[in-house]
């Protein structure tokens, strides 16, 4: 492995990536600490968008666009619908955090500490020269339909099952046996 350049001279990629990283973490924190339910969903959109940016920096364009398309497009919309249907309070509601907050905070910090120390200790010298074109749709498409066909089909069956499940649960006129 070539001697990795030191951290003190970050390349352009790294700087962009760090900026996007800060955005991701910041908006993530806002999602879980905001007092308003809808704001949480909106901050989630920003967070996922920034994440798509990170993928782009990491030369995984296809995944980035899929991320933007499905997550930001579909999943967050679904969440908003969920918020609307459960008549969540618009505006500031004081008690969005349960009394479990201190415990949760401690556990979360501990997880962060453990993961960061382990990861940093493990991959301090890992370095890669990013070369564009690795993550293009054509590359990923070839990979999916040449090597990952079986999981792909299994996934479709899973989606179908999820679909049927969701319908059964949400419709009130279907009585269980």
């Amino acid at each position: 492995m070539s001697e990795a350049p030191s951290y003190l001279s970050p390349t352009g990629h790294e700087i962009v990536f760090l900026l996007l990283g800060v955005v991701v973490v910041g908006t993530g924190l806002l999602v879980v600490t905001t007092r308003q339910v809808v704001h949480a969903a909106l901050w989630l959109v920003v967070c996922l968008g920034a994440l798509a940016g990170c993928y782009l920096v990491l030369t995984a364009e296809f995944v980035a666009w899929v991320q933007v398309l499905i997550y930001v497009g579909a999943v967050v919309v679904l969440l908003l619908f969920g918020i609307m249907l459960t008549r969540a309070p618009i505006g500031r509601s004081p008690d969005l955090d349960s009394r479990n907050r201190p415990v949760a905070a401690v556990v979360a910090l501990a997880t962060a500490a453990v993961l960061v120390t382990v990861v940093v200790d493990g991959f301090r010298h890992a370095y890669v020269d990013l070369s564009p074109g690795k993550g293009t749709a054509e590359e990923v498409g070839v990979a999916v339909f040449r090597y990952w066909v079986l999981p792909f089909e299994a996934l479709s069956v899973l989606l179908l099952a999820a679909l049927v499940g969701a319908i059964v649960i949400s419709r009130t006129d279907i009585r269980g046996r």
């Binding site: 349960s98 479990n100 415990v103 949760a104 556990v107 501990a110 997880t111 453990v114």
Partner: protein
């Protein structure tokens, strides 16, 4: 020889078993009338005791004439291996035990015959006579034992028989309590006795008596002293000596023949017999003799004074027994066992006689209390004559046997402090230095003289209040002589009470004899004078302020009750409470804490899913950290 002695011991035991089971089987099977069972049981009682008496007599004659060579004849049935010192189950007839055996069997025979009449209308006569036979065999076992443990077996069975017989009329709770008290006090003494046996046996390396008696020079003085002192505890318990004497007066609750047999002639004498039997050991332990002397002095005078103040005729005789036994103990303390044994024999005879006469009087006057008697000499001439002989012997007046034996004992005690031990007649020339230390010797001799005087007083008082003055009996004048079967034993016993003194060849010491007779007459005169003043009043007013104290036997009994009985009972209740709250509480408590802890754990199961997930993730983290750190 040995077979004869073994039969003497076993026959009463078989008689007892037969007596207990026989009539029950007969009544159980034949459903015959109760008094036929009494007739049937009487045979089981009298015949074995008679045969045992004859056997004991023959054995005594053969041993005394030295027909069998050595003074002692021993035979061992078997040796029981206990793991350390073996127990040799065997019998041994020495000069002393032969004579005592005869005394025991004769008195027992007299009592059995007497009881047939005395217990004629008692439904439980079969068990009563069986227990007397059991007692006789136990006493013979003690007398003829060759091994200390076999002796201890007989020793305790005697205690049991005295319990069973004192509590014969158990319908009345007082008798039952008196029986329990008798057994417990003697049992306390027996525990000391057992420990004494352990000390001496380990010192001598064997339980056999002749080993212990021969090997005593090898033992250190501390072992000897401790051993003999512990034996003394047992002797005090059984012979109702000073500290453990409180049970004997209460034991009068039992039938009178029992008092005659057990609490006058045999069981109470067993203690003195043991000291005489192991006398070389006691000679080698001067401190023990000093203790014995003090105990004797205390018991002698105290009991005599108490006897003077009692109103119940049988309690007078009971305290008199304590006093006379203390007298014998004093003789032993003055290193003269022959005098003590001689007095033991004569006392056995005349005290049994007195008790049997008392039985006749009580049987007729239907009350124990002397205040309910009086003027009986015309109505019961034979009883009057025999009782007079008895009291004469008790006071030590010349013709009666008491005079000779009391004189021998008094001479021994007189010689103790002054001259060297050798001069006392028949005293074993002991290699140990001087006699009982001077001061104790003088105290012993002084109290002995005082006791002789007080004995004269209470004997005369009892004599006057029962036979002279106007008849105070409330139940009219039906007092007549007892039935023949009760009179013959009394007459049978009157003979030795009168003539036993002449059997011993040793001439009396005229100096001390004159002194003791004078003192006795002095006491008698004083009582007679006060009695003359007011024939109906109790001459015990002679004691004045001391009377209440004497009657309560110096409140020793109440003191024991307060010091021992009540605290033990309180402790028992405390133990039960403690057991329930502390020990059991701890057990129940552990149960409750376990359930409490489970309650605390259940608090966490309150259904909040987020708590569960937090716990889960926290656990996961700990495992990851553990794996990373330890891995």
């Amino acid at each position: 020889m040995m077979v004869m002695v073994a039969c003497a011991v076993l026959l009463p035991f078989l008689g007892a078993v037969g007596g207990l089971l026989g009539p029950r089987a007969v009544r159980f099977a034949a459903r015959r009338a109760a008094w036929r069972a009494v007739r049937f049981a009487a045979w089981f009682a009298v015949v074995p005791t008679a045969v045992a008496a004859i056997l004991a007599g023959v054995a005594a004659v053969r041993v005394l004439r030295g027909g069998t060579g050595g003074t002692a004849v021993a035979g061992t049935l078997t040796v029981v291996e206990t793991g350390s010192l073996p127990v040799a189950v065997g019998l041994e007839v020495t000069r002393l035990s032969a004579l005592t055996g005869v005394l025991v069997t004769v008195v027992a025979l007299a009592v059995q015959v007497y009881s047939v009449g005395y217990m004629r209308d008692d439904r439980r006569y079969p068990s009563y006579s069986a227990f007397i036979s059991l007692f006789t065999s136990a006493m013979l076992l003690v007398v003829y034992a060759a091994d200390l443990i076999v002796l201890y077996v007989g020793w305790e069975i005697m205690g049991l028989c005295s319990y069973l017989l004192i509590g014969h009329w158990w319908e009345d709770r007082a008798n039952s309590r008196a029986a329990v008290k008798a057994f417990l006090v003697t049992r306390l003494g027996d525990v000391g006795f057992l420990f004494g046996i352990f000390v001496l046996a380990v010192g001598a390396g064997s339980f056999r008596i002749d080993d212990v008696v021969t090997k005593y020079p090898a033992m250190s003085t501390t072992v000897l002293t401790v051993g003999t002192l512990l034996l003394l505890v047992g002797v005090a318990g059984k012979s109702a000596q000073a500290p453990l004497h409180t049970w004997l007066p209460d034991a009068m609750a039992g039938p009178t023949p029992i008092s005659a047999l057990i609490h006058a002639a045999t069981m109470v004498a067993a203690g003195i017999f043991i000291v005489a039997r192991l006398f070389p050991l006691f000679l080698a332990a001067p401190t023990t003799l000093a203790v014995l002397a003090i105990m004797a002095a205390l018991g002698m005078l105290g009991a005599a004074l108490a006897a003077l103040a009692q109103d119940d005729l049988k309690r007078v005789l009971a305290y008199s027994t304590i006093s006379q036994l203390a007298f014998m103990a004093g003789a032993l303390a003055a290193r003269d066992d022959d005098a003590a044994i001689f007095h033991l024999f004569t006392h056995g005879a005349f005290k049994a006689l007195l008790f049997l006469c008392a039985g006749l009087i009580i049987h007729r006057a239907a009350t124990n209390l002397m205040s309910g008697m009086g003027g009986l000499r015309r109505a019961m001439p034979i009883t009057f004559a025999t009782t007079t002989i008895g009291f004469a012997a008790l006071m030590g007046l010349p013709p009666a046997s008491g005079f000779f034996s009391k004189d021998a004992a008094l001479a021994a005690m007189g010689a103790a402090p002054g001259a060297a031990p050798g001069t006392a007649p028949g005293a074993v020339p002991s290699a140990v230095p001087s006699a009982v230390p001077g001061a104790v010797g003088w105290i012993l001799y002084g109290t002995a003289l005082a006791t002789v005087a007080v004995t004269g007083a209470y004997a005369t008082r009892a004599w006057l209040r029962t036979f002279f003055g106007e008849p105070r009996a409330q139940t009219g004048d039906h007092a007549r002589e007892g039935p023949a079967s009760m009179l013959w034993p009394v007459i049978l016993l009157a003979v030795p009470a009168l003539l036993l003194g002449f059997a011993v060849p040793a001439a009396p010491h005229w100096g001390t004899a004159a002194l003791s007779v004078a003192l006795a007459l002095l006491g008698a005169g004083a009582v007679y004078a006060t009695w003359r003043g007011a024939p109906d009043a109790d001459p015990a007013r002679l004691l004045g302020p001391l009377r209440r104290a004497c009657e309560q036997a110096f409140y020793v009994d109440t003191a024991y009750n307060a010091l021992f009985v009540r605290p033990v009972r309180w402790l028992a209740h405390a133990v039960v409470r403690a057991d329930d709250t502390v020990v059991d509480g701890a057990v129940r408590g552990s149960g409750r804490t376990a359930r409490g802890l489970s309650g605390v754990l259940r608090l966490a199961q309150n259904g909040n899913a987020q708590i569960y997930v937090s716990g889960l993730v926290a656990g996961l983290l700990i495992i990851v950290v553990g794996a990373v750190v330890l891995g």
